[in-house]
C-alpha cells in the first residue's frame, strides 16, 4: 500500500509507510549522500535516523549542498 509523506514542501508518494527516518532515507535512495534532515522544523542528527519514528502528518525537509556564492 502506498503512502504519502510531505517532503520538501510537497506530498511524496512512497511504496510503504516508513517506520523511521532511516527507512525514509533508504526509500528515497539517499543512503550515503551528504544530506541533513529536518522533521517538523527540528534537525534529526545523522546518528538518530534509526531511532526517530515517523508519524503520517510529519513534515520533512531534506537538504544538500549545492553551488552558490
Amino acid at each position: 500500500m502506498s503512502f504519502d509523506l510531505v517532503v520538501n514542501g510537497a506530498a511524496h508518494r512512497l511504496a510503504a509507510q516508513p517506520a523511521t527516518v532511516g527507512d525514509l532515507v533508504r526509500a528515497l535512495n539517499l543512503v550515503g549522500k551528504r544530506i541533513a534532515v529536518e522533521r517538523n522544523g527540528e534537525i534529526v542528527p545523522k546518528g538518530r535516523y534509526e531511532e526517530t519514528t515517523i508519524s503520517p502528518d510529519d513534515r520533512f525537509e531534506i537538504v544538500a549542498a549545492v553551488g552558490g556564492g
Binding site: N8, H12, R34, I35, G41, V63, A65, G67, G68, G69
Partner: protein
C-alpha cells in the same frame, strides 16, 4: 628551474597567512561555486583560483532522481577544501539560522559559516537588522560567523562586538561587477576591526580585487566575477594573482602620491652631453 623566485614566493605566502578564528589559510581568495557551466568547470576554476575556502548554498535535495547523479561534493570533496556554507536567499534571521543549522548538520558539525540575510530581491542589499539578530543567535550557538553586511562601519563594529569572526562588507551589489565603490568606508571598517575584513560582493575584474587588497582587506570573496567571465578558469587565475599582488603591495607600502617629483629614476650626473 628558477629556484630563487619559487622560494621567494613560497616564503612570502607562508609568512603571511589569512587567520580566521585561529585557523591559518594560505589563500586570501575565497570563491563561490555557483553559476558555472558544470561541475567540471567549477572544479577547474576553483583550483585555478588557489582558493582553500569555498562557499556553498543549502537547498532542498532532488527526490526520486538518479542516486548516482554527480554532485558538487564529488567535484570539490570536503577533504580538499574548507566549506563555507551560506544562508544565501534568506530574508529573515529565522530562515538564515535554520539554514545554517542544517548546513552544520550536513557538514558533520563544521561551525564556520557565512551569514547573509538579504533585504531586497532586486538589489540583494543586506538587511542589517535581521543580520544582527541572526549573528547573535548563531554566535551564541557556537557558530563561527563570517558575516556579509553593508559597508556601514557602525554596523560592522556591532557585528564584531557580537563575536563574528570576520566582517565581509560589500564593495558593490552582489553580482553587479561594479567594483570598489566606496573605498573610504572600507578603509574605516578595516582600521577599526580586529577580526579580518573581507570584501564580499561587487568585484568585477582582477583590478577590483587588487584594489580591495591594497586598501588592507584581509581577503576577497567572489563568485560571479569568475563564473560569468568568458573564460572562468583564466579569470580565476587572474583573481589569484590580483589578490596576491594587492596584498604584497599593501604590505610593501606604496610610494607617496605627488603631482610631480622632478626626481628621475636614472642618475642626473655623468651624462655624455
Amino acid at each position: 628551474m628558477n629556484a630563487p623566485a619559487d622560494q621567494a614566493n613560497f616564503a612570502a605566502t607562508l609568512a603571511d597567512p589569512l587567520v580566521i578564528n585561529g585557523t591559518a589559510y594560505r589563500s586570501r581568495l575565497l570563491v563561490g561555486t555557483g553559476k558555472y557551466r558544470d561541475f567540471a568547470q567549477t572544479r577547474e576554476a576553483v583550483i585555478a583560483s588557489g582558493a582553500q575556502i569555498v562557499t556553498v548554498a543549502i537547498r532542498r535535495t532532488n527526490l526520486g532522481q538518479d542516486a548516482n547523479a554527480p554532485s558538487l561534493l564529488d567535484a570539490l570533496p570536503p577533504s580538499e577544501f574548507t566549506y563555507l556554507p551560506n544562508s544565501a536567499g534568506c530574508y529573515t534571521a529565522d530562515d538564515a539560522v535554520r539554514t545554517l543549522k542544517l548546513a552544520r548538520e550536513l557538514l558533520d558539525g563544521h561551525a564556520l559559516t557565512k551569514l547573509e540575510v538579504l533585504g531586497d530581491a532586486n538589489t540583494l542589499f543586506p538587511n542589517v537588522r535581521e543580520t544582527l539578530k541572526a549573528a547573535e543567535r548563531l554566535v551564541a550557538d557556537g557558530f563561527q560567523v563570517m558575516v556579509y553586511t553593508s559597508d556601514d562601519p557602525i554596523i560592522a563594529r556591532e557585528l564584531e562586538q557580537i563575536g563574528c569572526v570576520a566582517i565581509m562588507p560589500l564593495a558593490s551589489l552582489i553580482g553587479s561587477g561594479m567594483g570598489i565603490l566606496n573605498p573610504w568606508n572600507l578603509r574605516l571598517i578595516i582600521e577599526q576591526s580586529k577580526v579580518p575584513v573581507l570584501v564580499d560582493a561587487g568585484v568585477g575584474t582582477a583590478s577590483d580585487a587588487a584594489i580591495a587588497m591594497e586598501l588592507g582587506c584581509a581577503g576577497v570573496l567572489m563568485n560571479t566575477a569568475i563564473a560569468l567571465a568568458t573564460d572562468p578558469v583564466r579569470m580565476a587565475r587572474a583573481m589569484r594573482l590580483a589578490v596576491e599582488a594587492g596584498r604584497d603591495a599593501f604590505l610593501a607600502g606604496r610610494m607617496p602620491r605627488k603631482l610631480y617629483a622632478a626626481s628621475p629614476s636614472s642618475p642626473t650626473s655623468g651624462l655624455i652631453a
